[in-house]
């Protein structure tokens, strides 16, 4: 069999595909974080909890209202996004004038409360969520078995990422948004309702997290702790990609998934820290991140 660096090509290829799948979740989550940080300057520590909420809402929709995966894909982000808008209006909007740290503390508090309430209501063992009928099954690739659902996750996440990037970078709405973060007063003078724009942006970022949650539900069990497991890695992704850089967080998300996948294969014990080692190296060499602009 063909070998690369002393490892057989088959397993190596399989591991990199698995890495990309995890990368798809990282990319989707860090995308929402990057949007919120880039446009609102809020370090949204509640992101993991809102991702979890997306999964929980889709479970509730299925088990209490009989609504399956496909309606959930739309409804759960809308519901959680609306919850995000309420949070922004009631709490987060009060902090824009203060230091980043206040936003971080507030959203961290929100994350703890949301997780605690979810645990109280749904327990800690997790709840199972079946893979939708249309995406069941798997394909034999020779060197591995590829579950159809995972393939769908990679494709759906990639399309969502590109669409978000397009809206923010290539449309007039995106241009207005970016302008509003540069100089809110000036944009407001042009008749744009900036506070509303910002509220909706936070809602959209939260909806992205919830979407990732819905997609994660059939892969992992729906568990109140699922958000806190990924949030730290996702923060590392955002920092490596460059705080607020949309394209940076997408590419870094997929890239780090790949690197983590290789580490799991070569040295499993190190897979928990490899992302942070990379983060340290990147911060030493390029403090603004790989794709960030130096302040």
């Amino acid at each position: 069999m063909l070998s690369i660096l002393g490892y057989n090509a088959g397993p190596l290829l399989a591991q990199s595909i698995l890495g990309l799948i995890n990368g798809a979740f990282y990319a989707l989550l860090s995308l929402g974080l990057a949007v919120i940080f880039g446009l609102l300057n809020i370090i949204n520590f509640a992101h993991g909890a809102l991702y979890m909420l997306g999964a929980v809402v889709s479970w509730v929709l299925l088990n209490h209202l009989g609504l399956g995966y496909w309606p959930s894909l739309l409804l759960a982000p809308l519901i959680v996004g609306a919850f995000g808008i309420v949070l922004e209006r009631l709490f987060i909007s009060k902090l824009y004038k203060l230091d980043h740290l206040y936003g971080l503390l507030l959203t961290f508090g929100i994350a703890l409360i949301v997780e605690g309430l979810a645990r109280n209501e749904f327990g800690s063992s997790g709840m199972s969520y079946a893979v939708p009928e249309a995406l069941r099954g798997a394909t034999r690739l020779g060197f591995m078995i590829m579950p159809t659902y995972r393939l769908w996750v990679v494709v759906a996440s990639f399309v969502t990422c590109i669409a978000t990037w397009f809206v923010l970078e290539k449309t007039s709405l995106g241009a207005t948004l970016r302008a509003a973060t540069e100089n809110a007063a000036l944009v407001q003078a042009f008749g744009v309702n900036v506070p509303r724009l910002i509220t909706l942006t936070y809602g959209a970022g939260v909806a992205l997290a919830a979407l990732a949650g819905v997609m994660a539900a059939p892969v992992y069990s729906v568990n109140p702790g699922m958000g806190s497991n990924v949030i730290i890695v996702v923060f590392a992704v955002v920092v490596i990609g460059g705080m607020g850089s949309i394209l940076g967080s997408i590419l870094t998300g997929f890239g780090l998934g790949l690197i983590e996948g290789f580490t799991k294969f070569v040295y499993p014990q190190g897979s928990g820290v490899v992302v942070f080692v990379l983060m340290v190296i990147v911060l030493l060499l390029r403090p603004a991140g790989l794709f960030g602009k130096a302040a």
């Binding site: 503390l105 961290f108 605690g116 199972s128 798997a138 078995i145 992992y220």
Partner: protein, 411 residues
């Protein structure tokens, strides 16, 4: 960021602990001495369902049932959350023993926390009855005259599940292991049974705990190793995720979940869990006694039926109170070892585990059961999950007394 997160967690921990310890059973009467039991476990984290509030409820159940036999004292039960942190657990244990007059600390899952609390109990000669933790060191290297370990340990799990799997032809193994004290010990114990039966371990993937949610990479390595059996040396949500993903990737190996509770099977659903083999020392539908017990506590914990930890909390509390009756509250308060000596001197008997005993190193001896998870078509209703495959009698289920390395056992 990490620092502020930690500091914050610490603060929340203190607040949560203060709130949790507020939960008490009012049982105080004027004049009589009060025997205080402190149930300490994970009330809010990943092990909340395997122990949690249901452990507290089952402890209270035992106290209520024994109330008419109390001999000149009253009993109070309090509840605390150790959050799976050894420092939080040890801190609370000190406070309970020193300041709050707690006479016995019960449950304490998570091996790392259990060893810390056992250290405090040993130092102060206070009674600790461990139910929830797996480490066999509690009656081995870390044993103490004031400690009892009840329900299960890594050796008993490894012998029952590991031994039976090798016997059934599963002679080559690959492990996926949570890389901390519990997972490592479970892997070590299982390995010794596999090799003793002339089986072979072909490889292992020790993964960082917690923080791993995707096991697909390790599953692929397991498949690639060519081993017949996948040994899961992890617990709770990690086990659930590993099994779920093994099905997803069409893993063609027999899965041996080395530690799994009925609560985990419930989380997986029978569709995914069917055919799995696992070991517990209690199942609600085992016999008339276990069914009667379950019917008594079910109304109080309707969504979380008792597993071997919950049953252990109930049964050991009954036995603890029998011991207090024997020696009286004054001797009990004088030293934890007085209580445990009395517990060892009386045979145990209760609805959950039947008749049993506690041997010199503090290990409670009962039969262990290898169960197989039913197919959905075989299950007649809620929580009807297990059929018994092998029963290992109490005399063979546990590590021989001489092999534990407990310091006060003369070999």
């Amino acid at each position: 960021m990490e620092l502020s997160r930690r500091a914050l967690l610490g603060t929340t921990a203190a607040v949560a602990t203060a709130a949790a310890t507020g939960a008490t059973t009012p049982a105080r009467a004027q004049g009589k001495p009060v025997i205080k039991i402190g149930v300490l476990n994970d009330a809010s984290g990943p092990y909340r369902d395997t122990g949690g509030k249901s452990s507290f409820i089952c402890t209270q159940q035992a106290v209520e049932e024994f109330a008419s036999h109390l001999n000149g004292y009253t009993v109070e039960v309090i509840y605390g959350d150790h959050q799976n942190k050894p420092d939080v657990g040890a801190g609370l244990a000190r406070q309970w023993y020193d300041r709050d007059g707690v006479d016995m600390i019960l449950d304490v899952p998570t091996s790392s926390v259990a060893l810390a609390v056992a250290g405090v109990a040993k130092e102060k000669n206070k009674c600790h009855v461990n139910i929830g933790a797996a480490t066999a060191d509690l009656t081995g290297k870390a044993c103490a005259p004031s400690i009892v370990h009840w329900s299960y340990d890594t050796y008993m799990l490894a012998k029952s599940t590991g031994g039976a799997t090798v016997k059934a032809g599963g002679d080559t193994w690959f492990f996926i292991t949570a890389d901390y004290a519990f997972g490592q010990q479970l892997q070590r114990d299982t390995t010794s049974f596999v090799t003793a039966a002339h089986g072979k371990v072909l490889g292992a993937a020790p993964y960082p705990f917690p923080s791993t949610t995707d096991f697909s990479s390790f599953l692929l390595q397991a498949q690639g190793s060519g081993a017949k059996v996948l040994g899961l040396c992890n617990a709770g949500g990690d086990t659930v995720n590993s099994i779920k993903q093994a099905k997803e990737f069409g893993l063609e190996m027999k899965i041996a979940a080395m530690l799994m509770f009925i609560t985990d099977v419930n989380a997986l659903g029978l569709e995914t869990a069917q055919g799995l083999r696992l070991t517990e020392s209690f199942y609600w539908d085992l016999n008339d006694g276990t069914r009667a017990f379950t019917n008594r506590v079910k109304p109080k914990t309707p969504d979380n039926w008792p597993n071997m930890i919950h049953a252990g909390c109930y049964a050991s509390t009954l036995h603890f109170l029998k011991a207090i009756n024997k020696i009286g509250p004054t001797a009990a308060k004088a030293a934890g070892s007085n209580i445990v000596d009395a517990m060892k001197s009386i045979p145990t008997e209760d609805d959950c585990f039947g008749k049993g005993s506690i041997r010199q190193d503090g290990l409670a001896l009962f039969p262990s059961y290898l169960f197989e998870v039913k197919k959905p078509s075989e299950s007649k209703g809620k929580w009807d999950y297990y059929k018994t495959v092998v029963t290992t009698p109490a005399a063979e289920a546990w590590r021989p007394l001489s092999e534990g390395g407990c310091y006060f056992i003369k070999s």
